[in-house]
């Protein structure tokens, strides 16, 4: 009798477990995949404290814009969405406990954005390991080829950015460049692309300096740049380091400053204000080019995005500038794509809806092309296939889930907003890297 009981125990237990799984443990129905109950937490994994804290603000903005629109449309399958700040502090080591704790303690955290360059090396494996789909804004070349199933990137890698810097500098007639990058992983990631592209474009690198952040003086570094007499400065550094360096340059070069090509990462109020205060608005608006991923700012998707930024009191003031910057726009698109993938998968659980993400953006005949969440959700509800084409245009993910797109060059306006002044072919950039 005892043997019979033991033999029966295993199948009964298995049946019980299967029944629980089918119910999802969270209010799902037995007819579909498991899902969750209650509000959804959308993780904004970014620095909210420390020297890089401005990234937290910049990445929260697209989250607010996207979730405002999603919630006003009734949420994702009726779930309201909240942006949840997860402070990675901008430090790769400090990020580990913070992100791990947030994943363990936050209810319904099954999607995320952010994971920028300073911390991506440690945060990407953690979030991927938790089976949480995420759209990262990092530009690290280390992720150009990767094996993370839940990883998606809609911004170009730093190596591609570096090559785009070179293309733009040469297009402006500057063939002798000096490279000055701050010693952080994001800035230095531009170097391989620059070094690969410059010789192919007929240019030369007169000097290549890596400088520390927050020094009391950069006078000796500046003197080396002046002695190299470059046509243009290829630059990547935080606002304060830039302000100190350029102030030293102005002092030591009789008030003259070289033209600068830098990344659209610097298209921030902090950078504009810090550098304008130290070397003047004339230089900042006329001699600095900001090169980065390009997107058409006349599309319906862009107008919806910008209107949402303007409508939220927390993002209203930064909307004119922020709406023109690639990585936040990529984060906004990423949220819409994940939300639509949830609806298509009929579940909000990452490990289930992840396989639908590529399907949401994949070009397919007969699909309804949508440029915002509401249209996509309505089409899916009507049983149609959809193809999301967002602010950054048609995403073209490679097998590593990277979608680089095109590049453009911008200049600051007097109010700190930016104007596009030229385009750089993404195909040319990729060719130069090859």
């Amino acid at each position: 009798m005892r043997n019979v009981t033991n033999r029966l125990a295993l199948p009964v237990a298995l049946a019980a477990v299967l029944a629980l799984v089918a119910c999802g443990g969270g209010g799902g129905t037995s007819s579909g995949p498991p899902t969750q109950t209650g509000d959804l937490a959308l993780g904004v994994i970014a620095p909210f404290t420390g020297p890089a804290a401005e990234f937290g603000t910049l990445l929260t903005a697209p989250c607010l814009a996207a979730t405002d629109l999603i919630n006003s449309d009734g949420g994702v399958m009726g779930h309201k969405v909240n942006c949840t700040s997860i402070d990675d502090t901008g430090d790769a080591a400090d990020a580990v406990p913070n992100v791990t704790k947030a994943i363990a303690t936050t209810t319904n955290l099954d999607w995320a954005i952010g994971l920028e360059s300073n911390t991506a090396a440690t945060t990407v494996p953690i979030v991927n390991g938790a089976k949480i789909p995420f759209f990262t804004t990092n530009g690290l070349t280390a992720f150009t080829k990767n094996n993370y199933a839940y990883y998606y990137r809609m911004t170009p890698g730093d190596d591609a950015n570096g090559a785009a810097f070179a293309v733009w500098a040469v297009q402006q007639g500057y063939k002798k460049i000096a490279i000055v990058f701050q010693n952080n992983i994001g800035s230095e990631g531009n170097l391989p692309g620059l070094q690969a592209a410059m010789p192919k474009l007929g240019g030369s690198i007169a000097l290549n300096l890596t400088i520390p952040a927050d020094a009391a003086s950069y006078s000796s570094d500046v003197e080396r740049v002046i002695q190299a007499s470059p046509d243009v400065l290829i630059w990547s550094a935080d606002p304060q380091t830039t302000a100190t360096f350029m102030a030293n340059y102005k002092q030591l070069n009789n008030g003259n400053l070289p033209p600068m090509v830098t990344a659209t990462d610097s298209l921030t109020p902090d950078f504009f204000n810090a550098v304008t205060k130290t070397v003047g608005a004339d230089y900042v608006t006329n001699k600095i080019w900001l090169v980065g991923s390009y997107f058409d700012q006349t599309t319906a998707a862009f107008n919806t995005y910008k209107a949402a930024l303007l409508a939220d009191s927390k993002t209203h003031d930064i909307a004119p500038v922020l709406s023109t910057v690639g990585p936040p726009a990529g984060a906004y698109d990423g949220i819409n794509i994940m939300a639509l993938a949830m609806i298509e998968a009929k579940t909000t659980i990452g490990s289930y809806y992840n396989q639908y993400i590529l399907d949401v953006v994949k070009p397919k005949s007969g699909a309804t092309v949508v440029s915002n969440f509401a249209d996509g959700a309505a089409a899916l509800k009507a049983g149609k296939q959809i193809q999301y084409v967002g602010v950054l245009g048609q995403p073209t993910f490679d097998k590593y889930h990277n979608s680089a797109g095109e590049f453009d060059a911008n200049k600051f306006n007097a109010d700190g907003s930016a104007t596009e002044v030229g385009k750089i072919s993404g195909a040319q950039v990729i060719q130069l890297l090859g």
Binding site: G50, P51, A53, E54, N183, L209, T210, I211, P212, D214, A215, A216, S217, Y218, S219, S220, D221, E223, R224, Q227, P239, Q240, T242, A243, T244, A247, K250, Q251, L252, N254, P269, D270, N273, A274, K277, T278, V279, G280
Partner: protein, 295 residues
């Protein structure tokens, strides 16, 4: 050769700023035997007091003096209200360090709450550029060097040539013995915190002028080079801290001029370690101060 001479000049200029803070730190530690990490955040506070005044069209040099006075007064209160009671209760040195670290972090957050996290600037205050004997220095750099030298000399004279200075040194050396000799050690201690705090506030403004752009992390970022300069010169010795600051500044600039600037601070700290291996009490340090530092 031209770059070498220029780098020496740049090093003297940035070293003077480090020295200004290092002298105050050295005096404070020498007098109180407390490794006050809040010093960095107080320096930041000085920079923001300067910003408040300069934004209201006050001369930067007047702002430097006022910031010194404000931070000096706050330092006295900080010592009286928080640190002195802990010392009286026999709190261990390590715990005191943690208290000062905590207070520094709190002060940083208070500054952010009032002034915001974004970068600030006094604007371009460097003034005319002078080229002399291969050195290239701006008017503001020359002024800061002069201020640092004058304050160092004044402090040196105070400590060595006045009754008050002798009382301060006596209190630093043996507080109980000083009390039994009739010295009002509480008053002397307050004065030491006032003076060192004033140097801390002035250093904050000088740093903000030099770096041109700054935020709430200004002081803590530069505290380590300042402590290095103070230790290099010999704790408790103003002229030692001054020399230490110059060594740190010049080593940093020479490294930036001739090798990878990324490692410019590494050179300064390598010199510090080498110096301590050869001469544990620093360039001018007294044996008692070294024992305290090692304790």
């Amino acid at each position: 050769m031209q770059l070498f001479v220029e780098a020496i000049g740049f090093g003297i200029a940035s070293g003077a700023v480090i020295a200004l803070g290092a002298v105050g730190f050295s005096v404070q530690f020498g007098m109180s035997n407390i490794l006050n990490i809040t010093y960095g955040s107080l320096m930041t506070l000085g920079a923001y007091v300067g910003l408040f005044l300069i934004d209201r069209s006050v001369s930067p040099w007047v702002a430097l003096a006022v910031a010194g006075a404000v931070v000096g007064a706050i330092s006295v209160v900080f010592h009286r209200v928080l640190l002195a009671p802990l010392v009286r209760r026999g709190t261990r040195a390590f715990a005191l360090v943690i208290v000062t670290v905590s207070a520094g972090v709190i002060l940083q957050y208070v500054i952010v709450a009032f002034a915001g996290p974004d970068a600030k600037s006094y604007g371009e205050l460097s003034g005319q550029t002078f080229r002399l004997l291969g050195f290239v220095l701006t008017a503001s750099q020359v002024t800061i060097i002069v201020i640092a030298v004058v304050l160092m000399l004044a402090l040196h004279l105070l400590l060595t040539q006045t009754h008050l200075g002798r009382a301060m040194r006596a209190t630093a050396s043996n507080r109980i013995l000083a009390q039994s000799c009739g010295i009002n050690t509480d008053f002397v201690s307050d004065l030491a915190w006032l003076l060192s705090g004033a140097l801390c506030g002035a250093a904050g403004v000088a740093l903000a002028i030099t770096t041109v752009s700054f935020d709430f992390s200004l002081g803590p970022v530069f505290l380590i080079p300042m402590i290095a300069a103070a230790v290099l010169g010999g704790i408790g010795q103003p002229y030692g801290a001054m020399l230490g600051g110059l060594v740190v500044g010049v080593a940093t600039e020479l490294t930036a001029a001739y090798s990878n600037p990324e490692y410019s601070q590494v050179a300064a700290f390598a010199i510090l370690i080498a110096m301590l291996l050869i001469r544990p009490r620093g360039l001018f340090g007294a044996a008692w101060a070294t024992r305290r530092l090692m304790a």
